[in-house]
């Protein structure tokens, strides 16, 4: 099962790399959109998690 999972991840990795090479070469702005959107989502998510941490820190100080 683990080998199958590893193989699946390896295939996904290869497909992702081929996608990145092809789209990065033929359509740099499409590639920028894919990477940029992921980055925007991650930064927005990180901001929310940081707020959780800030709240926890505040509550610990108040206690």
């Amino acid at each position: 099962m683990n080998i199958m999972r590893l193989a699946g991840l390896a295939v996904a990795l290869v497909v992702s790399l081929l996608f990145a090479v092809f789209v990065g070469d033929q359509g740099p702005w499409y590639f920028a959109w894919v990477v940029g959107t992921v980055m925007i989502i991650l930064i927005a998510g990180a901001g929310a998690i940081l707020l959780d941490a800030q709240d926890e820190q505040t509550s610990e100080k108040e206690i």
Partner: protein, 541 residues
């Protein structure tokens, strides 16, 4: 040949502009909210904290209202190509229809299918599976926009097609060239991230409303933080891609960029000012009341300090030989159509690149026939056609400036909001919160003006340098056009009123209220009524 009544052409343009602008009031929110929902749900799946599920469900409900009312408004435009723009569809349908068909079959159905799973699948799917569905909805809605913009880019920068003199239409050559058209790439990313900005301002503004009223504090603070960060990066991306589009227009649509900048005469680098204010006078071909920022125009447009930018007067003069060449192309094409002589075909090929300018000259030719002009008539027709190559400068100039000034406003609001949120000083900045609230409709307004800039700036062409707008419409009666225009205006205004009513209603009710899709009142979680301290305590326990 009898030309289509100019009033019918104007009414067809007005009707398309009206339906497109109405439709585009809904689109940006769909494009952006889906990825914002994906971001919220990602945090929910990663952290397991209920509040992020509540956020995804509440903002998902507002997305659902927008999606349900807005999505159908775009379908009428696809029919309008056939009903009101039949000459255009005949000439360019092979190119334009292909991406539209892919959009309908692939992206639209993908989006519509998965949106159902997204709304009704919360209790039926595992967390990762539901998250994957949300991402697919986001991808589907943005891919819909991609194919529309691929089609639009082929009108602005026709690439991957050739004109067939036997069928008298543009024929599709290369799908790769059409999809990877530089204009399509830049326009898609610009439009998509403009949707992100609209969604971020929407979420941030409504969250600011809750914070101002002291309601749903934990919910609103997290929504505000995520939207501010989402918005500031998206605004930077919008401005960057706007610059890329400007550069492409400078290279491929010099009349559009000259009109955008109100540049009647070729610029004098490096001093040439960027006009922040002016009143362009199309009739007299000059500007009134110019207020400019020196040394900005050349690097902004040409990305250099010493490259002159050709003005509209000089572009008119440069068009003269192309108009004469286009007239020869049409004359050769007509002879080829009658006798199929290879010599006529060869002559047509020699002038083919200017064929559109020949079409443009038809309006001024006796009997609208450019194939039998005398030398004197030719000179007169060319002279009369030269000013026709320019778009409406006043409209293009001001629609661009409104979009630009608004985007700078968004940058300031998002930057300040992100800073204030990250430093946990939101509640002390009530003026900023009010500004966020009142700024909710502005990104949608900016995208509307962006669309006007792109489309008004492309005139007088439907297919740039290939097919003029006055030759593209259908030969309807004026009564038919006015009746259908009034019908669309009434129907779409009803949709907008319904959307605004529902949005205001559910936004005011807030996340505590009501069912979410098939979920029932999932949002009545305890920490919506608690302050940040008790939320933190409950989360850590």
């Amino acid at each position: 040949m009898e030309l289509i009544n100019p009033d019918v052409v104007d009414l067809s343009r007005f009707q398309f502009a009206l339906t497109a602008l109405y439709h585009f009031m809904f689109v940006p929110l769909t494009l952006g909210l889906t990825f914002m929902l994906a971001a919220m749900e990602t945090v929910y799946v990663v952290t397991g904290r209920q509040i992020y599920k509540d956020m995804a469900q509440f903002w998902g409900k507002l997305f659902g209202i927008n999606f349900a009312i807005g999505v159908a408004t775009g379908i009428t435009m696809e029919f309008e190509f056939g009903t009101n723009w039949s000459m255009y569809s005949r000439f360019f349908g092979d190119m334009f229809g292909t991406p539209l068909a892919i959009e309908g079959l692939m992206a639209f159905f993908m989006e519509s299918t998965f949106v159902g799973l997204m709304f009704f699948g919360w209790d039926r799917l595992s967390r990762p599976a539901h998250l994957a569905i949300t991402y697919l909805v986001a991808l589907g809605s943005n891919l819909s926009a991609l194919w529309i913009l691929v089609a639009n880019a082929s009108m602005n920068m026709p690439d991957g097609a050739h004109f067939d003199p036997d069928t008298m239409r543009m024929q599709f050559d290369s799908v790769v060239k059409v999809i990877f058209n530089p204009d399509a790439q830049a326009k898609f990313v610009h439009t998509s991230v403009a949707g992100y900005v609209s969604a971020a301002m929407f979420v941030m503004g409504i969250s600011a409303f809750y914070i101002l009223r002291g309601q749903h504090k934990a919910f609103a603070a997290r929504s505000f933080r995520m939207a501010a960060l989402f918005g500031i990066i998206s605004t930077v991306a919008v401005i960057t891609l706007g610059d890329v589009l400007g550069r492409l227009d400078y290279e491929h649509q010099p009349t559009k960029i000259a009109a955008i900048e109100g540049l009647w005469h070729t610029s004098k680098p490096p001093y040439e000012p960027w006009l922040a204010f002016a009143l362009p006078d199309d009739a007299r071909q000059e500007n009134h009341l110019e207020i400019g920022v020196p040394f900005v125009l050349t690097p902004l447009v040409a990305h250099s300090f010493d490259t002159p930018i050709t003005g509209m007067t000089e572009l008119e003069e440069q068009a003269g030989p192309r108009i004469a060449s286009g007239i020869q192309a049409l004359a050769a094409l007509r002879r080829y159509g009658q006798a199929h002589d290879p010599a006529d075909l060869a002559q047509f090929r020699a002038h083919e690149a200017d064929m559109g300018f020949g079409f443009l000259a038809m309006r001024h030719a006796p009997g609208q026939d450019v194939s039998a002009l005398s030398a004197a008539q030719m000179d007169e027709v060319v002279r009369q056609t030269e000013p026709d190559i320019l778009p409406n400068v006043f409209v293009t100039f001001w629609s661009f400036r409104i979009m630009v000034f608004l985007s700078l406003w968004f940058f300031a609001v998002f930057a300040l909001s992100a800073y204030v949120s990250l430093t946990n000083r939101l509640e002390r900045n009530r003026l900023l919160l009010k500004l966020c609230m009142w700024s909710i409709p502005l990104p949608i307004l900016a995208t509307e003006f962006g669309w006007i800039t792109a489309e008004a700036g492309r005139q007088p062409w439907t297919v740039f340098n290939r097919l003029p707008t006055f030759l593209s419409a259908s030969s309807h009666g004026i009564g038919y056009m006015i009746f259908s225009l009034a019908g669309f205006a009434l129907l779409y205004s009803t949709f907008i009123a319904a959307e605004l009513f529902l949005m205001f209603k559910y936004a005011r009710l807030g996340p505590d209220h009501g069912a979410h899709g098939a979920q029932g009142p999932h949002l009545t979680v305890a920490h919506d009524r608690k302050d940040a301290f008790s939320v933190a305590s409950s989360l850590s326990s």
